[in-house]
Symmetry: C2
Amino acid sequence: MAVQSVPSKTLLISAIFSLLVGFPSQANSDNVEKLTTASSNSNLAYEIVSSLTLEVGPRIAGSEGDKKAVAWAEAKFNELGFDKVYKQPVRVRNWSRGLSEAKILTPYSHNLVVSALGGSIATPEKGLQAEVVMVESLEALQQTPADDVAGKIVFINKKMERDKAGKGYGPVVVGRSQGAIEAARSNAVAVLIRSVGTDNSRFAHTGAMRYSPDVPKIPAGALSNSDADVLAAIIEQGNPVKLSLNMQAKEHGWQTSYNVIGEITGTEKPEEVVLIAAHLDSWDEGTGALDDGAGVGVVMAAAKLIKETMGSPKRTIRVVLYANEEFGLVGAKQYVKDNLDDLKNIIVAAESDFGAGKIYQFDTRFAEQALPFAKKVSTLLAPLGIEEGSNTATGGPDIYMLPSHGVPVVSLRQDGTEYFDYHHTANDTLDKIDLEAIRQNQTAYAIFAYMMANNDVDPRPAPELEPVQ
Amino acid sequence: MAVQSVPSKTLLISAIFSLLVGFPSQANSDNVEKLTTASSNSNLAYEIVSSLTLEVGPRIAGSEGDKKAVAWAEAKFNELGFDKVYKQPVRVRNWSRGLSEAKILTPYSHNLVVSALGGSIATPEKGLQAEVVMVESLEALQQTPADDVAGKIVFINKKMERDKAGKGYGPVVVGRSQGAIEAARSNAVAVLIRSVGTDNSRFAHTGAMRYSPDVPKIPAGALSNSDADVLAAIIEQGNPVKLSLNMQAKEHGWQTSYNVIGEITGTEKPEEVVLIAAHLDSWDEGTGALDDGAGVGVVMAAAKLIKETMGSPKRTIRVVLYANEEFGLVGAKQYVKDNLDDLKNIIVAAESDFGAGKIYQFDTRFAEQALPFAKKVSTLLAPLGIEEGSNTATGGPDIYMLPSHGVPVVSLRQDGTEYFDYHHTANDTLDKIDLEAIRQNQTAYAIFAYMMANNDVDPRPAPELEPVQ
């Protein structure tokens, strides 16, 4: 689906206005016009990301940066005038990357850019040296005779394809999460993957990996795509390639982090909740501007703009900034566990966690009776270049488990064509955010949340979704 | 000027053929057709860069990599069947970068990506800490009261503009080369510059800097553009910003490197020389694929293809791979000094040193009588999307001093729109080279060198050019 170009501000406002005149919504059309105007003139989402990335920076779960981020979020909610600001504790592992070095020793000498995968154990203190065996995918590794792998460093050289919806991610990320397990089954000494990213650059893309209790833990890292090319080309010349790897990642035990929550209390039905979310943690090498500073900025700004422009809505708008998304959705799981009785009050949930590209499609997971209303919201979003989608939304990663509890979700799907150029790298910084694009996200979230919070529509219960694995 | 699209191979060959039929050149039109076909079917330039970057990698002057590169170049010339292969010794300083770290300490903590500028002294062993004073340019620094600078780290935050011809480079690079001198005049303790590069990424762009005997030497580094943004934004908040800088660059004294030269001996006028050049050295963080592996590949391949396709030309084709371009054009200066009596025999010189983008314009610096011939060569290059330029060529950096000795030069001007995204960074690697673009360069150099080496045209003496500073 093509992204439509966004019309000028005036055209946009008139278009939304004329749409509202046509249907008997409880949302006041003057207010939507005001909201759109206010958002069109506001850099708030961008300013929030800027504040978070400059004043806090990297914030991997359990780190000093994470603690700063929690304090920052609480202060920012208060500064923005949210009615209720609170935290829910979440126990998180604190892992640190430390030194990460890789070097081709023979037949030629090359320093390679490598990052430890999140959760990897360290190599021995002085590193390890071994021959490299290259496989084209996790599946190929599973089919490689153990004798070809034992004692070696496995290099999984699977390339991620660029795609607007990020469809290239799934088929490749299994190598990141499962590579160490499969390599260890054949007694490899370490595993390196080609970065799960679409750039050709010398930034390595980190990300979470797993171990299995039935096989030994081995160190796992990602090579930048440029360095993966070098290694592959040298291996393809046919001579044995020997590599040294030195990664000094560490576990620092358990820490307390927090889901940080800000609410605009509803005036008529305060117990009914429109939940919009992002995650507060980031990886450690960049400043987490795209992942997920952008989401934090968008959802905080959308709620603030609604209150500022029209006063408090009928239903409560709850902005949840989840802890530790990157290392297993820990904050999101804790949220469900701690709020089981309250989940029934969530009218709808949405998460912004796909960078700062423009939104191009509005998907829902609503009960049948609310589909006409979904269509109306879609119509209101259309002037922003957003197309009507399907009723098969899964929401973002942190709200993926909500539909199995009956909670309706929506996906405001963003253009992710360039997202995986920066995702989980040191290069995920503020300068990657386009002001106009993030403002479009802010406007879309504001319109969506406003419409949901100022109507009696009830999209519950959500059509069933496979429970999270 | 827009780059024309390159027509299909067959069209291209027919076009060149029909052009040649029309004028009484001494170059045989069948041969130019053969040459174009051969080049269109050859990946040789790319394969040469690939070999250099994989088998040698980084090769800063005087380093082990540089020594490997010299041996590689000699072997490659021989392998390609050049008639004469020889080296001319060049004394070079060997400088190594070592550790380069920068960190904002207050008001927020940020690790910054920094690279020492080439030739910088080290900081004290444990680094230095100081407040930062930001200036917008070298000129602004010169106008800043010394009291505002003394004891501080100067940050020159001038942004390079993107331009096809690289015109953004000159106005910014003065800050790199002269920044330490001007900052030291006001008793600064160090200087950091915003990278001289057009990317927004966390790669720092290194490059040569100078000291002056009349002021103290201070350490000099470049911040990545993303990090320069962070530092500037924090400074603009108005509170004092304190930074730590630790760079452990070292001088290792003088080493012998070499200009490596391969010749295809002329059959009729072997003493008359068509010189095509590139430089063999590179910076140390990338593999020098664009700067200047691409040039090395293009000029070696062009000469080889001429010999292979048509046998030896009438005049000698001399391929010169200069030593140590990056640190003051040392090999090029040595070449002039050692070959003063021979310079009069150089019919024309060209250097490929602007990455691997397509050539879009053919400039000459020819004596009047040869301009009709320049026009003919232009006409032959037109099917490749190359426009006729002016007679004000300066050639590449290593041949810039030749016109002042009467040697004609040409510039086969390349599209440099993206060149300065990678120039002098760790990200200058093989994957940045587009096969079709480098092949177009190879074909253009082959046609140009073939035409110059198989005609009696004499473009000497070159119109005067300001001598190199």
